[in-house]
Subunit: 439 residues, 2 copies
């Protein structure tokens, strides 16, 4: 209890914490109070890599596969040992509850996901999941009971389109459930395979206001924190994403017999467009990104002037208005390129767009204050990647904590974060949960 | 004979010809002498389209197919009727000989090909073949016997890589014969199917100096003559062609989490390269062309920054030195783009390059003089497309006559040349053969 009393104070000032902190000499306590067991986090990250390896030795813990099912079983076993009594909701999300002192208070939720992209890395989602369990275990080991109930949530199939968190918040459609998942089965079949109940999918939905707060620790997946030597990223929001399929029509003709000035080269026009997208996106201040990630040329031969190009344009930003503004500018550039190259551009906006999701400003401050109190440098930043937290933000005050990704590499076996950074992030998560409990 | 006497004079001046021309009032004679039957040419062009139609109704007289074999049989039947007694050489080339008055003189060769690209047009090769036969028939009908023997040659498999003319001049390798042709069988199998003898392929070779001259009438396949309202193109040469496979290596990463300034986007670099190729090729005076006709992106998804692009670069010009100069300039631009985009370019020169082939300057003048004498506007120009004549140029003084292609379209069902232009071209061919006979 003394320790808990100490933690109550911990949120106030870092100076005060420094004084109290000196009372504890054990390794697991920082000056600021309770501290996670970084070695345990690291060893569990590597234990989890054993589940889901394909015939080529690559990570393949893709949602609904054998590796995913085995990894989930392993994780639930750890949850049981930590006294969480995990259950699986209708969407396949794993939920472990820990009672608080006041059962009338709303639960504080935290967690992430353990599924991965094909040939993915060992930290994306995994860190947030294992650190969330670590928070529970540290509370257990120190006999800390929070006022609020706690909920550790491991979302199902994040990489397939944040399926579990979408099911819990906005809900899934029957059509969506019947679509094929990345690993082969339909989502309905996959959800059943991991213990969910697709026929009763609405049962997993949580209403707006049903959580006191939601917090997710995650690797950055970009290179900003590493490049700027910042230890903790305070996520201001998760960007909106819009995709357009862009078709460029020129005229296919003989590459030998058609002089340069008589060409209507769809690839030349598309190339000017790719360059223009980059120019437009980088011409405005901010953290927006724009990508042409795919491009197909028809007919596609050395000696034929391309008649048609179909390419994929993606824009992401925290502001939906900025995405629209950038797109209008890109359209203008396309019109000019079309006139210059005697081609035609058409844009087909794709139905899968996701709206920007802002995190809670008060929660951002709680994270920032706690990180600073632990002596970490911080940066307010956006998440360019999608996360389960973007759905949770629609029903709860939500926040995300980022730690650096070495080389900014993600969705790759080269994905890596240091044990120190993981330990830092988990400590910020722990302190944030405790602050929110008292906030 | 009177008519022949007249023709003897015809090459001298167009003024003189005008005077003599008025002696003949029949439709088939122009003021300048003998004239082809344009209606017969036109009707035969359309008769030939009946051979080689695929299940979708598209032209498919691809070398070695049923359509090719049937079209060849139809053509040989016409040759027989014209007294040519056609034979098939070891490469499958159809050769029809017409005796001259002086058997010790070298033959004058003319002709083209009747095979087509898949879904191709009705004029490429066909016009030159049917017009060559027309020349024979007009001579027959007017009892004209040339001094030189004449050889009408229909080359086999032009569209598959000028196979027949290559076999006749530089020869084919055993390896080349064993490669698959466009329509499926190996070239050896295909040559056998059209009546050739691949086991004895050298038998078709003709030595240097074995022809007095070689002349080919062809559609331009580009849009220059139509655009400049020129009736006859005098071909100065057939361009050399060099292909490079260009690999651009960047770094594939998350399109959401990777800021614009930390990217190594292979497609952005490749796009700048495509624009640079166009700038370099159009920055120099001349008729050179440069094309990026194919481009493949890896991994190729909306939300992944392209890590690798492989593209095809083609340069064509009448001067091999100019091709090298342009390539050096393009390489320089690639080096700058690589530095700017943090990517790497590598170039693999492809083994299938073809050297520029110049036509004979005296023959160019004969064609130009005859075309002018017929009242046609002319332009000295290069052929951007490859032709059998490029191989014939290595063993004989060679020339090509071009007529306009409507819209500059070729290798397409939309390929079209007017009956008037075909008639003009065939008359220039006829007059050129007769001039060469006396030259």
């Amino acid at each position: 209890m003394q320790r808990r009393t100490f933690i109550k104070e911990a949120g106030i000032t870092s100076v005060g914490l420094g004084v109290f902190g000196s009372l504890f000499s054990e390794n697991r306590y920082t000056e600021a109070g309770l501290s996670v067991n970084g070695k345990r986090i690291e060893s569990r990250i590597f234990e989890l890599t054993k589940f889901g390896i394909d015939e080529k030795g690559r990570g393949y813990r893709v949602a609904y596969t054998k590796g995913d099912i085995e990894g989930r079983a392993w994780f639930m076993e750890l949850m049981k040992k930590a006294g969480l009594d995990p259950t699986i909701d209708a969407a396949g999300n794993i939920i472990g509850k820990r009672k608080g002192k006041n059962s009338s208070l709303k639960p504080i939720g935290f967690g992430s996901h353990i599924d991965m992209v094909p040939d993915g890395g060992n930290y994306d989602g995994t860190l947030g999941s294992i650190a969330a369990l670590e928070v529970i275990e540290i509370l257990n080991e120190n006999n800390v009971v929070t006022d609020h109930p706690l909920e550790l949530i491991i979302f199902a199939n994040e990489e397939g389109g944040t399926f579990g968190s979408k099911a819990m918040t906005e809900g899934l459609t029957k059509e969506g459930l019947q679509q094929k998942s990345q690993s082969g089965p339909t989502h309905a079949e996959g959800i059943r395979a991991i213990g969910g109940d697709p026929d009763n999918i609405q049962a997993c939905m949580r209403s707006k206001g049903s959580f006191h707060a939601w917090v997710e620790l995650h690797i950055e997946q970009g290179g900003i924190l590493e490049k700027e030597k910042i230890q903790i990223g305070v996520v201001e929001g998760i960007v909106g994403i819009v995709h357009w399929e862009v078709t460029v029509e020129g005229f296919s003709n003989h590459a030998g017999a058609t002089p340069m000035n008589l060409r209507q080269d769809a690839l030349l026009a598309a190339s000017k467009f790719v360059v223009a997208v980059n120019e437009v996106v980088t011409s405005v201040k901010g953290t927006q990104v724009g990508t042409v990630g795919k491009l197909a040329v028809q007919p596609g031969a050395y000696n034929v002037i391309p008649g048609k190009v179909v390419l994929g344009l993606e824009l992401r930003d925290l502001s939906a208005e900025k995405i629209e503004m950038l797109f209008r500018e890109i359209e203008k550039r396309a019109t000019a390129i079309a006139a210059e190259t005697k081609t035609k551009f058409s844009f087909s906006r794709q139905p899968n767009e996701s709206k920007p999701a802002l995190t809670d400003k008060k929660l951002q401050q709680v994270i920032n204050t706690n990180a600073k109190a632990l002596g970490f440098s911080t940066k307010f930043m956006q998440s360019g990647a999608g996360h389960d937290s973007q759905h949770m933000a629609s029903i709860a005050p939500s926040a995300m904590i980022f730690i650096p990704s070495v080389g900014g590499i993600s969705h790759s076996p080269k994905e890596f974060s240091t044990a120190t950074d993981m330990n830092n992030g988990a400590n910020v998560l722990l302190k944030t949960i405790l602050s929110l409990d008292k906030g």
